[in-house]
Amino acid sequence: MDYLTLLQILDTTVRLATPLLFACLAGLVSERAGIFDIGLEGKLLMSAFFSAAVAATTGSVWAGLAAGVGASLVLSAIHGLASITFRGNQLISGVAINFLASGLTVLIAQDWFGQGGRTPSLSGDARFNEITLPFAQSLSGLPYAGQGYTELISGHSLLVYVGLLTVPLIWWMLYRTRFGLRLRAVGENPAAVDTAGVSVLRLRYTAVAIAGVLCGLGGVYLATGLQAGFVKEMSSGRGYIALAALIFAKWRPWYALFACLLFGFFQALSFRPDVVERVARIDIPGQFLDALPYILTVVILAGFVGKAIPPRAGGEPYVKER
């Protein structure tokens, strides 16, 4: 395998890892606050649809972004209402959100555009286009480092860079700020937070809202960056893969980045069966490569990655008691 092919695969890895990363970080913030979020998948999908639909209608990707994030936030609010205020079962609420998104997106798309549950293709200002970083052109002549810069670092859409920057941002927030301390505490022992005079409800709603924004960005990237428009079920399980990555990452931001890149890498491989066959020197069915990220998800969820300790109060509604 030559260097350029490797760069191409890694480039695809970064693109495919980005929606996973947004969803994974969304799950991280939510679950660190003690609210399990099975509904990542639904939020990705809903946000992808609304961003594509609004971008297609208005011709502005920024309007699409606002619509996508807004749609995701609405689902977050429903999840918050069900699991924080009404102390419902967080898993059931999350599953309901996934079903809701799966049905609603296709229904509205058909009613709105009449194209069989998809949106029109996006182009121009209705998409997040690739950004060429400074000097990319002039450096591409340099072997290795220059090529790497041009092929791998440069030429992604804005949201890819935003996603990568979110990782240190979330880390800093969690471990260096007052808000982060309280957020982690509320996921471990909400009673400690409550008796310290801090509102458990407000903290958890904030966390769920942050998760909504992040997940929304992931969905927006899916429909307006990675692809050009919405198609039915386009999130294709990424929300669940992100959950697996979150467990793999033991609920830590930097680990989350690496976990998402790993899953992204396996997804990227399935686009290049020729390379895999050449390297592995055996015939691997394309379907197997397609299935690989999902198989990996199952393996990870089955606990083959060592002990991952989730936040202790995760999944439990907080009831005041002595």
Binding site: E188, N189, G197
Partner: protein, 540 residues
């Protein structure tokens, strides 16, 4: 009798630190607090004593903003104060140390202290400031804790100090402690009392909620007694006695000391030799224990919770695996194989009243009559035919047992969770004792049980002893161990540290053994010679 408090401690020119007027609170039909008025003067330690369910905790929860009172007023330092939430309580200078600590286990001490009282949006300056303040407080009040240690690495005594530090960091003038000594060794409790006295000398006001009369007598200036939601009396501690307080709590005369004849032990019923238990995480919990219990005697096992007593009870009761030898009536008990379960233990005449009645003793959502047959459900009198159980008979038998054990209400059709702690325990005891076992294993028989019920439970256990049965009693309450046992073995770190006769020892000596300190120094590395445990006489 509502006189003493006004004149206690400081001169009565000062405004009370806390004054409650006519506080009432109902939960549905249950009146948890009825028209409660109380005055606590600054710079005093005020005890609040009462049985479980007397309304102490509800009252303190109202004071800390967990519940809103239906009626009544709260005055803090003379000013009328509304306390809608914990935030307001903290702002009013109230700090609370809960019975179950409110700490984040995988945070450091420092992080727990600043949580909710940070200086600004960034952590660094807050942590630095807290670190400085903690070292000052440590020096002033003997409140030493390593600020960088994780909470889960600390002993309960140290965790409690963190709770006190949290309150002091929030500049609390009034400190409320809810059953603070329940989890402490006697030495740790003494240390706590030194801290509390130091805080009192600095002018802090302390409210101590407890059911232990001894502590009230030892440390408080004034004491209020609650019964069934009402404040029945407030008296100066110097002018009262434990007997009077107990009577005020229960509403009738209570026998504080257990009344029992000398033991008349005969043959050994239980013999344990070199028992070793390794838990799921591979940690050795019991490190070679030798002991025996004879028919007609009670062997009390004292120790701070978590030193292997629970594991010992579990294995003897039939869950968990172990190495070593256990004989009952001279026959070996299977400790590892398929016959090592509760069912086969019961068949051998071993009955077990587990330490945690909610998780191991009962199924709370099941009816009393169902709970009454668990473990003995295959007994012939409960069967109608080989396929069906005779539920009518079970209900009838349950009702009889409930009456004999004074379970209130004696209604077999109530779910176990609807009984009070004491009555739940009586259900478990009735189930186990009524099968007439040769050996009764009993763990924490009176944890969370009212004084009135404690008396009854103790009498039942002693009656079983007097019928010539062997009893192994595990309790963290030293009073209980001292009053009930015919011999006392102290466990520390999975080993028996020594054996004493109740008449020849006291709390101090047992407390030292519980902390792993023997006459010859710290805990020995090797297990103590077995003669220490098996060789003693029993004529107490």
């Amino acid at each position: 009798m509502r006189d003493g408090a006004e004149n206690a401690g400081r001169p009565d020119t000062a405004a009370p630190a806390i004054e409650l007027k006519g506080i009432s609170k109902a939960f549905g039909p249950v009146q948890a607090n009825k028209d409660i008025s109380i005055r606590v003067m600054p710079g005093t330690i005020h005890g609040i004593i009462g049985e479980n369910g007397a309304g102490k905790s509800t009252l303190m929860s109202i004071l800390y903003g967990f519940y809103k009172a239906d009626a009544g007023e709260i005055f803090i330092q003379g000013r009328k104060t509304e306390i809608p939430d914990s935030q307001a309580a903290i702002a009013a200078g109230i700090g609370m140390v809960f019975q179950h600590f409110k700490l984040v286990e995988n945070f450091t001490v420092l992080e727990n202290v600043v949580l909710g009282a940070e200086e600004g949006a960034l952590l660094k300056p807050s942590l630095a400031k807290a670190r400085k303040l903690l070292s000052e407080l440590a020096a002033e009040y003997e409140l030493n804790v390593d600020p960088d240690e994780m909470i889960e690495e600390l002993s309960v005594g140290h965790q409690q100090r963190v709770e006190i530090l949290k309150a002091l960091y929030r500049q609390a003038d009034i400190l409320i402690l809810d059953e603070p000594t329940g989890v402490l060794t006697p030495a740790e409790a003494d240390h706590l009392f030194r801290i509390l006295n130091g805080l009192k000398d600095q002018g802090k006001t302390i409210i101590l909620i407890t059911h232990k009369l001894r502590e009230i007598m030892e440390i408080t200036d004034t004491v209020s007694v609650m019964r069934r939601g009402e404040m029945t009396a407030t008296v100066k501690t110097k002018e009262t006695s434990p007997e009077e307080l107990a009577e005020l709590m229960v509403g009738r005369k209570v026998l504080l000391r257990v009344d029992k004849k000398p033991a008349e032990p005969y043959a050994r019923v239980l013999e344990v030799e070199n028992l070793r238990i390794v838990d799921e995480d591979g940690v050795e919990r019991v490190k070679g224990v030798d002991l025996h219990v004879r028919g007609g005697e009670i062997l009390g096992i004292a120790g701070v919770a978590g030193n292997g007593q629970s594991e010992l009870l579990h294995v003897l009761g039939g869950y968990g695996r172990a190495a070593g030898t256990v004989r009952v009536n001279g026959e070996d008990i299977d400790l590892t194989g398929s016959r090592s379960d509760g069912q086969s233990r019961r068949a051998r005449g071993i009955a077990h009243v587990p330490e945690d009645r909610h998780r191991e003793g009962l199924i709370l959502d099941f009816f009393a009559w169902e709970n009454m047959v668990f473990g003995y459900h295959n007994a012939p009198e409960y069967q109608k035919s080989s396929w069906f159980m005779d539920n009518a008979a079970i209900r009838r038998i349950t009702q009889e047992k409930m009456q004999r054990f004074d379970v209130r209400p004696p209604n077999p059709a109530l779910a176990a969770k609807n009984f009070s702690g004491g009555n739940q325990q009586k259900i478990v005891l009735a189930r186990e004792i009524e099968r007439d076992p040769d050996l009764l294993l009993v763990g924490q028989p009176t944890r969370g049980v009212d004084i009135g019920a404690i008396e009854f439970i103790h009498q039942q256990i002693i009656a079983l002893r007097d019928r010539g049965k062997a009893i192994l009693l595990v309790s963290v309450e030293l009073d209980e161990i001292l009053s009930m046992s015919d011999r006392i073995a102290v466990m520390f770190d999975g080993r028996i540290m020594g054996e004493r006769l109740p008449a020849e020892t006291d709390e101090r000596e047992l407390g030292m053994l519980m902390a792993g300190i023997t006459d010859t120094g710290r805990a020995p590395v090797h297990r103590p010679p077995s003669g220490l445990v098996t060789g003693n006489g029993t004529q107490a």
